[in-house]
Amino acid sequence: MTPRARRGVNVLMSWLAALAAGLVVLPLLMIFAFLLWQGASAVNLDFFTHLPKPVGEVGGGMANAIVGTLMLLALAAVLGLPVGILGGLYLAESRDRRLPWLARFLADVLNGVPSIVIGIFAYSVIVLPMRRFSALAGAFALAVIMLPIVVRTSEELVRLVPASLREAALALGIPQWKVLLRVVLPTARAGIITGVMVAIARVAGETAPLLFTAFGNRFWHQGLDQPIAALPLQIFAYAIAPYDDWHRQAWAGALVLIGLVFVVSFAARLATSGRFTGVR
């Protein structure tokens, strides 16, 4: 090939690659534009403060579902984060032989397990024994989905803590557990928070595992052992229904949900960009 042709190929391929990148992000822009166009008109005060209306009646809101989703996320975080962060710390620090390898492998396996399968699991271990659909069962399912993400990011971040830091602390005669909890974890903090937020953003929109765990609720939540409304469930129910007003509300709900997910994602970004630069 002549140098000219080679330069031509170079330019062509650069453009093709740029086009591919454009096509990858295009659906995001399309969906966002459509959400704004269809959903913005239904996002009003009622939407955030009212309960759903009976079938086919116009009006009402998704207040209970918004609160429900926030509660499910908080509860899932309470259940999943301690195990996840400590597990990550273990993976990064332990010199045991088999368990770290197995745990790391299973974390990655769990990360790939479809969320619907985790829903089945939560149904059999929580819903059936409790004889009730409940917020707890939904939160458990979400916690299981969060777990591997938190474990692996925590591990990664703890590993990034410079060895010199620990050595300095250990050299001062501080016991190892104090070094881990007081030096290593705080240093990795920003990064771990990012991981946690990524995990929360990931499960915030999960619908499939909630179908037969959290179950949905037309009213405000009545306690953890009772069914609870969730935004993704409500969007799903409204989306497949034939009522135009419900479609509008589904779009509005989607707008709120995506807003929530993006805000958490942005926050995760900010948390890393600030103090701990070697992370990404």
Binding site: R7, V9, N10, A17, A18, A20, A21, L23, V24, V25, I31, L35, P82, V83, G84, G87, L89, L99, F105, L106, D108, V109, L110, N111, G112, V113, P114, I116, V117, I120, F121, S124, V125, L147, R152, T153, E156, R159, P162, A163, L170, P175, Q176, K178, L181, A201, A204, G205, A208, I235, F236, A239, I240, A250, W251, A254, L257, I258, V261, S265
Partner: protein, 321 residues
């Protein structure tokens, strides 16, 4: 990035010296064990719950295509077929785009444009499944029905793939939605893989007078090949298990049809639709067996993918999805 693996661990004493260390060690080990036990419990509970179906149908479950709750005859073929076809279709679209975008982001794009685009790609992955489904029902399906499918039918209608009435919803819609959903994973992981390729590889090619693209093709892509395959497999794993968006646009019909216009069904969506309402024990067991099957397949695909991605970047990286 590549420094990661090189960080040495703390060389500690052979035995923990004080109580605090022992307690912490126990707590940490318990956390890791919880994870292991959780996965074990998942497998055990699913095997147990699907046992009646395994006993009733044995391997026939995988070899028959009748799904008849009235006669209690259950075969998984239509769901396996639908899952595979929709995922392959998705990969067909997503792989060139995803790897192309990754190449752009890792090699060819001007430096200032890389972070914002990488962030947008992350956001594509962050959009919840149910929202893709919503968009699929109200935007994609009508678009396919009115424009795309009639056009395809006219031009390529001699192929059995593009025959039949244009419903909008169906295998094609599911494949496209899945492609949109997995492409950011493929892009992100491929980008990590490409970035993990040592700079010396590039410098060598550039020094020989290669253009940017030639460097990418000769040095980077070849070096990262197995990692890229891993990235694709990770995308496949996602596609196989994706539930809500697919359920909303695939048409939910257990049938093995050649045409991409025809409705289909996937393993994940049959569970989502029928799990809460399977009235007999055998029916429920059959659904859980489908869930178990899905579990096994995704575990295999993901395990393969990990090994391949690890082969380029090392085991610590590549959790970013």
């Amino acid at each position: 990035m590549a420094v990661v693996a090189a960080v040495p661990r703390v060389e500690a004493q052979a035995a923990p010296r004080n109580l605090g260390d022992q307690v912490l060690r126990l707590v940490l080990r318990a956390a890791a064990l919880t994870l292991v036990l959780l996965v074990l419990a998942m497998v055990v509970s699913m095997v147990r719950a699907s046992w009646p179906a395994m006993r009733a149908f044995g391997w026939r479950f995988l070899a028959t295509s009748t799904w008849d709750p009235v006669a209690e005859q259950f075969g998984a073929i239509p769901f396996v077929y639908g899952t595979l076809l929709s995922s392959l279709l998705a990969l067909l679209i997503a792989v060139p785009l995803g790897i192309g975008a990754a190449i752009y982001l890792a090699e060819l794009a001007p430096a200032w444009i890389r972070p914002p685009i990488a962030f947008l790609v992350e956001l594509v992955a962050a959009v919840p499944s149910v929202i893709y489904g919503l968009w699929g029902i109200f935007v994609l399906a009508p678009l396919l029905r009115v424009w795309v499918q009639p056009a395809l039918g006219k031009t390529l209608g001699f192929l059995p793939l593009f025959q039949g009435p244009p419903y909008g919803v169906g295998m094609l819609a599911a494949g496209i939605i899945l492609a949109i959903m997995v492409v950011p994973y493929i892009t992100a992981v491929s980008r990590e893989v490409l970035l993990a390729v040592p700079t010396s590889q590039r410098e060598a090619a550039l020094a020989l007078g290669a253009t940017r693209w030639e460097t990418t093709r000769i040095a980077v892509l070849r070096y990262g090949r197995s990692g890229l395959v891993g990235a694709i497999l990770l995308g496949l794993g996602r596609a196989l298990g994706e539930t809500m968006a697919v359920t909303m646009v695939i048409g939910n019909r257990p049938e093995v049809a050649v045409s991409l216009f025809a409705p289909g069904y996937t393993m994940a969506s049959v569970v989502a639709n029928e799990f809460a309402e399977a009235t007999s024990d055998l029916y429920l067991a059959a659904l859980i067996e489908i869930g178990l099957l899905l579990f096994v397949v995704t575990v295999i695909v993901n395990a393969l993918a990990r090994l391949l991605v690890w082969s380029v970047g090392g085991p610590v990286k590549a959790v970013r999805e």
